[in-house]
């Protein structure tokens, strides 16, 4: 590999994307190269925002070293993990549960000393050979009983790992039985890791489960005029806290967040909200769709990553409720927050403008964070998701054209109908049409690619090898990805920011978050540490001689 650490020569030319793509594919066996070629796309935004087709949400090629996780990870780790008062029991051998033991660093804020918080716990049936051979239902039943005896929780959820489906345990039957016996809500997720192609399948299974077993259990309407749910925000690094603060200052009433800083009671009551806001479209759009069908709650896509995007999202909410008082408060909040943001932005802009970023992460962040980089004057030259689908890349307009393969068919699509009693349209068709004329589009997500520059590279499910290759060819100033890539990238001499766990800092959402991010990235891309890579005695031996002899 070439010297990427040559700090004397930072102005290297970026090779054309066609060349880069060719290089990425060169080492693969023909069949693999053919498949990857469809997952590596050179962006070109046409009129009406059409973009080239990308292959996504397909099985990872064995041996390629993907960054993807499994269905269980998406279900238990991502969607259900951040809810503090459900006891989550992993049914399987010990590893799966251990590795998902608060590793995503979701934060939560129990209401008081008597509020439950099980997030620091890791419950597992710790399957042994005996259960593999004779079945694990008995042990699961007892594990549920033990969790109940220990904590008397409101709810217990059970998550299946790979062996469970294979040995044929009926975890749903066990849960029904124990629910009856113990009188609390107990439900299970068949999220065996081998189902689906990535954690994405697990998100879907989690959505289905919460919708079936929890949403709609509590019809009480607990006040507030502007009742909203925030979907697909998991409170990494305290993002949800910052968003909650803004909502409160604007006078919005948050009913439930799926699922950062959440409780099961919030889910049960969430169908009483009047608007659903979607942050991470990939992981949570199913619940939004089902709530709309069953209860009549419309949804809009928002983004609280980036100061401008935050302001825009708040204005969208105000436009929906169409209330002068709310609009005034929203404007007030924006006007109050923006000067501090602007001051820091202008300062870091001087040092960061023109620098190049690459983002390979998740199912929405690779898109959202481009906003922040744009605000700093930095350019995103390549980006991709780990587990997103075509609609997250190209926009929901392609939904009718997405072929459903065997892996996706595996994941149940719930059939949902309007609830005979509780379906209430939240907005008249006329208002809907009027709002749609403005800036407000319902049920829509434009996708990542239409917002990216022509000629930028979009890579789905990037492999370790491709990441290394891209570093070599593009020499970016920073890469955002996850912990698995972190040290590979840093060892290549490129600063690396984790956008799953935020490198244990944050928040980055909202206005305060934008400031944090500007400062953090400025610190990283302007770090001097790479200069010290060569000791003086390696670089200028003659100088050493000088010191020694004179």
């Amino acid at each position: 590999m070439s010297e990427v650490l040559d700090t004397n020569n930072p102005e290297t030319l970026t090779p054309p994307p066609e060349v880069v793509k060719e290089e990425l594919l060169a080492k693969y066996p023909t069949k693999v190269a053919r498949k990857r070629a469809k997952q590596i796309v050179i962006n070109e935004v046409g009129p009406d925002c059409t973009v080239p087709e990308i292959m996504a949400n397909v099985r990872t090629i064995p041996g390629i070293i993907t960054q993807r996780g499994c269905t269980y990870a998406g279900c238990k780790g991502v969607v259900l993990g951040p809810t503090r008062d459900i006891v989550n029991i992993t049914h399987g051998p010990i590893g799966c549960g251990f590795y998902s033991w608060l590793t995503r660093r979701n934060q939560t804020r129990p209401a008081g000393p008597d509020d439950f918080n099980f997030m620091t716990y890791c419950f597992s049936t710790d399957m042994q050979e005996e259960q593999i051979i004779f079945g694990g239902e008995k042990k699961l039943r007892q594990a549920i009983q033990e969790a109940y005896d220990l904590f008397k929780p409101k709810a217990i959820a059970v998550f299946a790992t790979c062996p469970v489906g294979l040995i044929g345990d009926d975890i749903h039957a066990v849960c029904r039985e124990m629910k009856e016996k113990l009188g609390i809500n107990i439900f299970a997720f068949s999220c065996e890791g081998y189902k689906g192609v990535s954690q994405s399948a697990g998100h879907h299974i989690a959505n289905n489960g919460i919708f079936t077993h929890v949403v709609g259990l509590d019809d009480s309407v607990n006040g507030g005029r502007f009742r909203i749910n925030l979907l697909g925000e998991y409170n990494i690094g305290g993002d949800a806290f910052e968003i909650e603060r803004l909502f409160e200052e604007c006078g919005l009433n948050l009913v439930a967040t799926f699922s950062g800083n959440s409780t099961i009671d919030q889910f049960a009551n969430s169908h009483t909200a009047d608007l659903n806001l979607i942050m991470c479209h990939r992981s949570i759009n199913y619940v939004a769709e089902m709530m709309e069908t069953k209860f009549g709650i419309p949804w809009i896509k928002v983004n609280f990553i980036g100061a401008e995007a935050t302001a825009k999202s708040l204005r969208k909410i105000a436009a929906y409720f169409d209330d002068p008082e709310l609009s005034a408060r929203v404007e007030e909040v924006i006007a109050r927050e923006m000067p501090a943001v602007e001051a820091v932005r202008a300062e870091v802009h001087e040092r960061c403008a023109g620098k190049k970023a690459m983002l390979f992460v998740g199912g929405s962040r690779a898109h959202h964070y481009q906003e922040l980089f744009r605000e700093m004057g930095m350019e995103t030259i390549a980006a991709g998701y780990e587990f997103a689908h075509r609609d997250d890349y190209e926009g929901r307009r392609v939904l009718p054209n997405i072929k459903v393969d065997a892996d996706s068919r595996n994941i149940e699509e719930l059939h949902v109908e309007p609830d005979p009693q509780r379906f209430t349209p939240r907005i008249t068709p006329e208002d809907l049409a009027r709002l749609a004329m403005g800036d407000l589009t319902f049920k829509d997500y434009e996708g990542m690619m239409p917002t990216m520059a022509n000629g930028s590279l979009v890579v789905d499910d990037i492999s370790q090898y491709e990441t290394e290759k891209l570093i070599e060819l593009y020499r970016p100033d920073i890469i955002c990805a996850g912990i698995k890539e972190k040290y590979v990238i840093q060892k290549s001499g490129v600063p690396m920011k984790q956008l799953h766990s935020y490198d244990y800092s944050g928040p980055y959402a909202g206005f305060q978050g934008a400031i944090n991010f500007y400062q953090e990235i400025d610190r990283m891309v302007n770090s001097k540490v790479w200069k010290f890579l060569k000791a003086p005695w390696q670089e200028h031996p003659e100088l050493t001689a000088h010191y020694v002899w004179e």
Partner: protein, 466 residues
């Protein structure tokens, strides 16, 4: 909600024999195998199963070592779970070969492939035949396999099985040498570097397997290499059958069919089993062995380190004497730490492990025999819930173990001295030294300083001279 709060000392509930695991004190079998495999030069660890396991284990190992850790996976899906994972395994091996050009591929199984009963040796054999038939210019590197379902044992069983598999499948019967095989067990990269230094100082040619000293604690360099430098060279593993002796570390390995045993049985290499060299007397054992094998006296620099350690034990005794400690982690580590604590005057009150070999108690008895007025509680196969129940009436002053014990330390407001694996709430876990006189010295300093820091913090006065 009272069960989430620290229980009062006299309110001990009757212990319940739980079948479920709450806050485990062990990791899964293939993770241990992958860690061992990472210590072989030019090797790529490969997990046969769904990709989630590989991803989870990578992220876990990386968060401790802060180093790249590639583990390939055969990425099985539902179809393969039903019809078998052979085709995926073969395709995966081929892709790893193309992109990494490794010297060795090491395949470990997971729960999924063990449950469906995939015949990995047969698949690999077929792959080798198919590859040979292709007539490819690049020769196929060796492929080592290990069976590692995590419904049997813990990461330590995975680790030892992997080491055994390496020796079993790679060692030959070459000419005899004066080399010494050293099987150190799961210790830190810093420990391995130190062991190398010691062997070097004795003038011994050592073969350390696995050697993660560089592969999991490498330097920042100008260019990144896909497979990190370092690790036990394949040629050395092949030569292990000719070494004059094997030193195998691990107090609970007695009587087990390990790599050391295999070398003894198959090649007649003399086997010396000792515990992890933690603390004074366990280290003395190692040094006596090395004196014997090298025919040399302990080099002065090491004798000096021993002397300074003793000196510090005398100086520090007043701070640690009678303090009550809970020790947890892998069984062999717990045995070593307990031995050391007993030596410095700390009273181990509970020695616990998620491992469940059934040999922990005897091993602890052996290393503490004449030192402890009262034998500690010893519990194998436990989780942190059990540890908490057991310990809350024992009034511990200290916790010694990995990061997962933090919640107990917080609950009881006592210091946690972090050792072993995983450490993900402190910096530098890969550089912690546990072994030898030097490691004991550092442990002693850390323990005493933790006690002093707590004393200082607890006092309203603000004494600055302790």
């Amino acid at each position: 909600m009272s069960s989430l709060r620290p229980a009062r000392k006299n309110a001990k509930p009757a212990p319940v024999p739980y079948v479920s695991t709450t806050n485990a004190c062990k990791l899964c079998t293939p993770l241990g195998a992958c860690l061992a495999f990472r210590g072989v030069e030019g090797a790529i660890p490969f997990l046969h199963g769904s990709q989630g396991c590989a991803t989870y284990m990578r992220r876990y190992i990386i968060s401790h070592f802060r180093e790249p850790m590639d583990i390939a996976s055969s990425s099985l899906g539902e179809k393969h779970a039903i019809y078998g994972g052979g085709p995926n395994l073969k395709q995966g091996l081929l892709n790893v070969l193309c992109k990494y050009n490794p010297q060795l591929i090491t395949v470990a199984t997971t729960c999924l492939t063990e449950t469906i009963g995939d015949d990995v040796p047969r698949f690999v054999k077929e792959f080798q035949q198919e590859y040979a038939a292709r007539g490819d210019a690049t020769p196929l590197p060796p492929i080592v396999m290990v069976s590692s379902p995590s419904y049997q044992g813990t990461h330590m069983e995975g680790f030892h099985r992997a080491v055994r598999a390496l020796v079993d499948q790679l060692a030959q019967a070459p000419a005899s040498t004066a080399a010494v095989n050293l099987l150190p067990g799961l210790v830190s990269p810093a420990d391995i570097r130190y062991l190398k230094e010691i062997l070097g100082d004795f003038g011994l040619a050592g073969i350390i397997l696995p050697d993660i000293s560089e592969t999991l604690d490498g330097p920042q360099e100008a260019t990144y290499s896909k497979i990190p430098a370092g690790g036990t060279p394949l040629a050395q593993i092949a030569a292990m059958g000719g070494s004059q002796a094997t030193i195998e570390c691990g107090a609970t390995l007695k009587g087990q069919d390990t790599a050391g045993q295999l070398l003894a049985d198959r090649f007649g290499v003399k086997l010396f089993r000792i515990g992890l060299a933690i603390g004074l007397r366990e280290t003395d054992l190692l040094f006596s062995l090395l004196e014997m094998l090298s025919g040399r006296e302990t080099p002065r620099s090491h004798a000096l380190e021993r002397g300074r350690l003793l000196d510090a034990m005398v100086d520090g005794h007043k701070y640690v004497f009678g303090k009550r400690a809970v020790v947890y982690g892998e069984e062999d580590l717990v045995v070593g730490l307990t031995a050391f604590l007993a030596e410095i005057g700390v009273r181990p009150v509970l020695c616990a492990s998620g491992g469940n070999t059934g040999r922990l108690k005897a091993a602890i008895a052996a290393v503490t025999a004449d030192l402890l007025p009262e034998f500690p509680e010893v519990r194998g196969g436990v989780d942190f819930h059990d540890i908490a129940e057991e310990a809350q009436n024992l009034a511990p002053d200290l916790l010694i173990g990995h990061s997962k014990g933090y919640h107990l330390a917080k609950r009881w407001q006592i210091p946690l001295i972090r050792v072993g694996f995983p450490i993900h709430d402190r910096f530098g876990g890969q550089r912690l030294l546990h072994l030898g006189y030097r490691g004991a010295q550092q442990l002693l300093d850390r323990i005493i300083n933790a006690i002093l820091a707590k004393k200082q913090a607890d006092s309203p006065i603000g004494y600055g001279y302790l």
